[in-house]
Amino acid sequence: MKIIDKWKDFLFGFISIILLWYMVSLLINKPILPSPIRVLANVHSLATQEIYIHLGYSLIRIFAGIAISVFIGLLLGVLMGQSKRWNKILNPIIYFTYSIPKISLLPAVMLIFGLKESSKIIMIVLIIVFQIIIAVRDSVKDIPKETYYILRCLGANKWREFKEITLPAALSSILSSIRIALGTAISILFFTEIYGTEYGMGYYIMDAWMRINYLDMYSGIIVLSLLGFILFLLIDLIEMTFLRWRNMSS
């Protein structure tokens, strides 16, 4: 029932936006805002062309960024959640860097890591990783001690404790923080793809803009939005399969 409601909401939102867009495009009546029907038709025809390569590059960058962030976030988050000493050392650093607008680091990152793939992925990691570290740390800290007692009483080793208790607690918080950070991560991806690459949705949109091909530009925007939407759906799906226990709390 809930899923159907979600889809209803989504469909309603989609149709509303398209309708609004259509009306504004009629009002303006200039090539800078083509009608959504033409744009959607263009997206459809693009679907067979090189746009796949651009989409693929963007996807790979996002996934690589998320994967690296999860790895670092899990490592540091668990370390900080379980050891008071490490938390004391790392917390001020995390706290300080948390408030820096990461996008402002873009020039610095490009200077240090070059214009190629690594700087793009590092930007995404910078956006997501701190949220994951903090979420994992807090979730690990919040595990009641008694939960560990049960296993320790049975002679379980550290690895078993990690696998049965720490990891599941951390994983559920990782998903929430990815969900929160994903929107910003895609925006950052767009920025980084303007420079030093000829592939990616960011490049595609800016290139179409430069070529004054507004139809392609809007199509690119739609495809990039679709990318974000699909990633959100993916997170929903993972949550529904692996974190059933969280959704079922009354």
Binding site: E146, I150, R152, G155, R244, S249
Partner: protein, 249 residues
């Protein structure tokens, strides 16, 4: 027999004494209910026995061998039940068995079903702990401990978070299933009523540093209508007298 011999526990590098000279011999197949004022080190005693807290002096033996998580099976029911929220009721019950490396064959699965049936939680198998009431969680925790058939069962105020009616109900269920298995049990409580209702022996502890003041036989276990019997009133009066005398020293 579980023997606690001359056990001392200190916190903060021997600065503060929590338990002083604890000597207790727990006969196999008995329930020892330990009652003491809050902060007297009751929970620490339980942790020392289960190996969660190191003790400075003395020794704890089970059937003449040093009690340890490696060689013995220690069941624990903590105050908050300690269920893993990401595992279903059934998986929570199976986890200790897996850790202990028990073979779970068809006969054993039937046995688990039987225990769950007795505790009236058969219908909750696939539910998650977040979705259970306090009483249901408690019964799952009891089932988890009993299917493990531990050498010793430790319970830390297991019924204190429940409302009165649920508590009495589950205490009865607990006794029913306990009588079939006769697992040697150590139970901590701050309620005189609970100690009398469940304990075959009642141990009274002093305020900090915790010592054992008195060990009483509980005659109430042998009578019917436990909660309303004359024996109940008698021993409750005795316990209260000891408490007022010793705890206000």
């Amino acid at each position: 027999m579980l023997e606690i011999k001359n056990v001392h526990v200190y916190y903060d590098k021997n600065q503060s004494e929590v338990l002083r000279e604890i000597n207790l011999q727990i006969e196999t197949g008995e329930i020892y209910a330990i009652i003491g004022p809050s902060g007297c080190g009751k929970s620490t005693l339980l942790k020392a026995i289960s190996g969660l807290t190191p003790y400075s002096k003395g020794e704890i033996l089970l059937n003449k061998k040093k009690l340890s998580a490696k060689h013995h099976t220690i069941g624990l029911i903590p105050q908050n039940y300690g269920l893993l929220p990401w595992k279903t009721v059934f998986d929570n019950i199976l986890l200790p068995l897996n850790i202990k490396g028990r073979q779970i064959d068809k006969a054993f699965l039937n046995y688990i079903d039987e225990v769950m049936e007795k505790l009236e939680i058969s219908t909750l198998k696939e539910r998650f702990p977040n979705n259970l009431s306090g009483g249901q969680k408690q019964r799952v925790a009891i089932a988890r401990s009993f299917v493990l058939q531990p050498d010793i069962l430790l319970m830390d105020e297991p019924f204190s978070a429940l409302d009165a009616l649920t508590r009495e109900n589950i205490q009865e269920l607990f006794l029913k299933i306990w009588k079939e298995q006769n697992i040697t049990t150590l139970l901590i409580t701050h309620s005189v009523e609970e100690a009398i209702y469940l304990g075959t022996k009642i141990v009274i502890m002093s305020p900090l540093p915790g010592r054992i003041i008195r060990i009483l036989d509980n005659p109430v276990q042998k009578v019917e209508n436990k909660r309303t019997s004359v024996e109940h009133l008698q021993i409750a009066t005795d316990i209260r007298n000891i408490m007022t005398k010793e705890w206000n020293k």
